[in-house]
Every structure is written in C-alpha cells, then in structure tokens.
C-alpha cells in the first residue's frame, strides 16, 4: 500500500513537471515573437527596407518615450485619455443597464421603443461625433459622451435580452411568496443577468476606447488620440506609432482589470 502511494505521488510529480515545461515553452515563444518582431522592424528601418520616415523604428520610438516621459507631457496625455475612457465606459454601461431595466419594467414601453433601438444600434455611433461636439461643445464632455454613446445601445439590447431569458417560474416562486415587481427584479432578474452584464463590461471597454480616440481626433488638444492626429498632421510618424503602442498597452491593462473583476464577482 505504502509503495503504490509513493509511486502515485511520483507519477503526479512527473505530470506537474510536464505542465511546467509546457508553460515555459509557451512563454519562450511569446517572448521570442515579441523580440523578433521588434528586431526585424528595427533592422528593416535601419537598412531602409521600409521608409523610416513613415514606419519609424523601435529605437526612435523609445527615444521619444524617454523624452516625453521626462518632460511630463506623456503622463498628462495618458491621464486625459484614461479619464475620458473610464468615464465613458462607466456611464455607457450603467446607462445601458438602467435603460434595459426600464424596458423590462414596462413591456409596452419596450415594444414602442423597439424600432428606434434597432435603428440606433445599427447606426455607426462615431458618425454622430460632429453633432455631439456641436451640442456639448468642443471639450472633454463631448469626448466622454462619444465613449459612452458607443456602448449604451448595445448594452441595453444585450442586457434586456438577458432579463427576458430568465425562466418565468422563478418569478412565480417569488410572487407566491408575496414579492412585488421590484423585489422580483432585485431577487431574480438582476442576479440572473449578472454574468451577461459582466461580459458586456469587457466588450464596452474596447468600445469606449474607440469612441474616445475618435472623439479626440475630432476636437481635442490633449490625449493620445490628439497625439496621433497631431503626429499625422506634422508628418511625425514616430509620434503616431508611439501613441498607438501606448494605447495598446493601456487598453490591454484595462481589459485585464475588468477580467479580474469578472473572476472576483462571478464566484457563484
């Protein structure tokens, strides 16, 4: 008995070792791809395989990063864009959920409003940019509005759909215990749709970045979107690519944070 116990443990350890080796290989290739990509880029730029004026090079971008980081202007731009994105994301998501709750509350309202929602959903929201800027002024309010409006309608539709999908017998259970409509929402509809809301958070993070960057293209004097459009105008493509990399990094960080939040919230 003791012997087989030891043997089993041995087998398990072999299995764990195999997993570790596999994981190392995956890391190895991930880092390799990263290094190879940037090395080829640098090389191609130096050897003039690609036009260095248009495609810049990692070393130039790095130098720009050092310069911008030390004079503090980089943090200002990042701050502005992050604030606008987070605000747009939160407002868009919450307004969407609120609207979905209103639709659930009144079936008649939801039937009346349905075709308008379909049209609004189909419309490319960034096309509303000029109108929003005229209405709300050329400032960060407009940009936040862009970040929010791009995700409101889709959140509403997805969450409302989840509200409707719940088995009506759960409502029957609550009603038989004397629950009001409000209690039914709180005890059944809302918690049952919680996973959908969380997954719509993940979608909305990405959408809000789109809205905010386009908004900054249109009006702003600050932010990462502004840096891109400014770099484009003065033909400084190092600046354009630099901003792009910063956006990629921060969008990925935000996505990871939302994913962490999801894991924490959906335990049961």
């Amino acid at each position: 008995m003791k012997n087989t116990e030891a043997a089993n443990r041995e087998l398990h350890q072999a299995y764990v070792r195999k997993l570790k080796i596999e994981q190392r290989w995956i890391w190895f290739w991930q880092i390799s791809i990263f290094l190879i990509f940037f090395s080829i880029w640098e090389l191609a730029s130096r050897l003039k395989w690609i036009d260095p004026l248009l495609f810049s090079s990692p070393s130039k971008i790095y130098k720009l990063f050092i310069a911008k980081a030390s004079d503090g202007s980089l943090w200002m731009h990042i701050n502005v864009t992050l604030f606008e994105t987070v605000a747009g994301f939160i407002i868009g998501t919450f307004a969407g959920i609120l609207l979905a709750a209103m639709l659930w509350w009144s079936t008649r309202f939801s039937k009346i409003i349905d075709p308008y929602l379909v049209i609004l959903n189909a419309m490319p929201k960034v096309a509303l940019g000029p109108i929003i800027i005229v209405a709300l002024g050329p400032g960060y309010i407009s940009i936040i509005a862009m970040g929010a409006i791009i995700s409101i309608i889709i959140t509403t539709l997805v969450v409302y759909n989840a509200f409707q999908e719940i088995d009506s017998n759960y409502i029957k259970v609550l009603q038989s215990l004397g629950a009001s409509k409000r209690v039914c929402f709180k005890e059944a509809i809302f918690p049952a749709s919680f996973p959908t809301m969380i997954s719509s958070l993940k979608v909305n993070v990405g959408l809000s970045w789109v809205g905010v960057i386009v908004g900054e293209f249109l009006v702003s004097k600050q932010g990462l979107g502004y840096l891109i459009i400014y770099g484009f105008q003065v033909f400084d493509f190092t600046l354009v690519l630099f901003s792009l990399l910063i956006i990629a990094i921060f969008a990925a960080i935000m996505y990871q944070l939302v994913e962490k939040l999801e894991k924490k919230l959906i335990k049961h």
Binding site: Y170, V173, L177, V183, A188
Partner: protein, 258 residues
C-alpha cells in the same frame, strides 16, 4: 365558510393563432385542515389549476374565494405556500438563503427565523448543508429544500405540485409521513397534485380525478376515515387500501382512452 372555494373556473391559454382549453368549469371547496389530491393524466391542467388557486394566473372565467376575500388580493398570498413542479432554487443563493427567501421578502427575517431554517433543514433531512449551493445537491435533496422553503412561511394552505416525484422511494415515504403529520398537527389544508394513485390515497381526504382536453372533474373520491386516522406509511398496508386503489385505477385507466 370553507377555506377555499373554486367556483366554476375555466381557463383558456391564448396564442395569436388559437386557444387551448386547459380547464373547464371546475368547482370544489376545501375545508380548514382538509387534504385534497388532484389526480389526472399529463396535460389535463393540474398545474394550471394550482397556479390559479395561488393567484398567479387569473382564470378566464369563474372565481376563487379564500375565506372571505378573493385570491387576487396580494395580502392573501402569504397564507398560501406554493411548491412548483420543479424546485426552482435560486442557483446564486445558498440553500439556507433559498429557504429564508419568504421571510426575507415579507421582511420578517430575524434570528429566530434563522434557527427555524436550521430546524426545517433537519426535518427534511438536509442538516449541515445550509451553506451549500443548489448545484451541489442531488435532485431529491433540492426538492426537499424547496419543500422547506414553502413550509417556513407557515402557510394555511399548501399547494404542492408533484413534490415527491423526483425522490427515491424511501425518502418519498418518509416525507409523505412528515408532511402529513405536520398538516394534521397544525390543522392545515393542502392541495396536492400527483400522478401517483397510492400517494393520493394515503395522503388525502378526497381525491379529485381530472380528465384531459379540456380539464374537467371526472369524479371525486372520498377516502374512508380509517385510512385518515393513520399515517401514510401505515395506510399503504391497511386492508381497505387495495380496494380503493383498484377503483381509482379503473377510472383513471378509462381516461387514457381520451
């Protein structure tokens, strides 16, 4: 005045194209402390009838009279405990939270209710699993938890939609005895839907046999008092059990031809 009067209730389900007659002209009364079983083939409107009595569906015609008032008044719902055909435990709540849902909704949640919930768990044989989630339980355990959720509100009238159908035979017999004893002790009334003829016989004062399409009362059987005095378990072995079983069986088999 009876606890519950069902007066000429008919119910139709409507769709755009057509309508289904689920119930047709159902009338009966239920006295304080009485136990009635509703027996009938699948689709004859048993669940519909129970939902109407619970006030969750408004019948197309007829009315439900409860004591003095009508079932449509929300205040009366608290006096009824409705156990649906499936357990419908909320998966994101623990078993104990599920059981205390009624008191929570009625804002009577306090420490004594929590103790009562523990006691209730013990009585349905689920002690020690109050902190588990429904998906960690077997089908029979879930059904017992749903029974506990219904009983904790101390309803005057219990509406049970096949509460014992997913249970193994031993648990079923034990719970039949438990429910029967509880109802007798507190002189509560119950309306039980079941497919199981012997269960209907050993639990009830009267059995209402429904015939399908549309659901109409085919016959009402009154159980003899000697069976009512003893527990369901003992009633199954009583000499007069078999004769009643054969009688109900004959009538029910005749319905299959519909």
């Amino acid at each position: 005045m009876p606890l519950l009067s069902v007066n000429q209730v008919s119910h139709h389900y409507y769709s755009k194209k057509d309508y289904t007659k689920a119930l047709e002209n159902i009338s009966f009364t239920l006295e304080q402390g009485e136990f009635i079983s509703i027996l009938g083939p699948s689709g004859c409107g048993k669940t519909t009838l129970l939902s109407i009595v619970a006030g969750l569906i408004k019948p197309t015609m007829g009315e439900i009279i409860l004591g003095e008032d009508s079932a449509s008044e929300p205040g009366n719902k608290a006096h009824m405990g409705y156990m649906l055909q499936q357990d419908y435990l909320f998966p994101w709540k623990t078993i104990k939270e599920n059981i205390m849902l009624g008191p929570k909704i009625n804002k009577t949640l306090d420490n004594s209710i929590k103790e009562q919930a523990d006691q209730m768990l013990e009585e349905v044989g689920l002690q020690g699993i109050g902190d588990s989630y429904p998906d960690e339980l077997s089908g029979g355990m879930r059904q017992r938890a749903a029974l506990a959720r219904t009983l904790i509100t101390e309803p005057k009238l219990l509406l049970l939609d096949e509460p014992f159908s997913a249970l193994d035979f031993q648990t079923k017999l034990r719970l039949e005895d438990f429910v029967s004893q509880l109802l007798k002790q507190y002189n509560k009334a119950a309306l039980l839907v079941t497919h199981d003829i012997s269960e209907a016989i050993v639990m009830s004062d009267r059995i209402i046999l429904l015939k399908p399409r549309p659901g109409e009362i085919k016959q009402i059987f009154r159980m003899p008092p000697e069976l009512r005095k003893i527990s369901p378990f003992q009633a199954r072995q009583h000499p007069s059990f078999q004769a009643i079983f054969d009688e109900v069986w004959k009538e029910m088999s005749a319905l299959e031809k519909y």
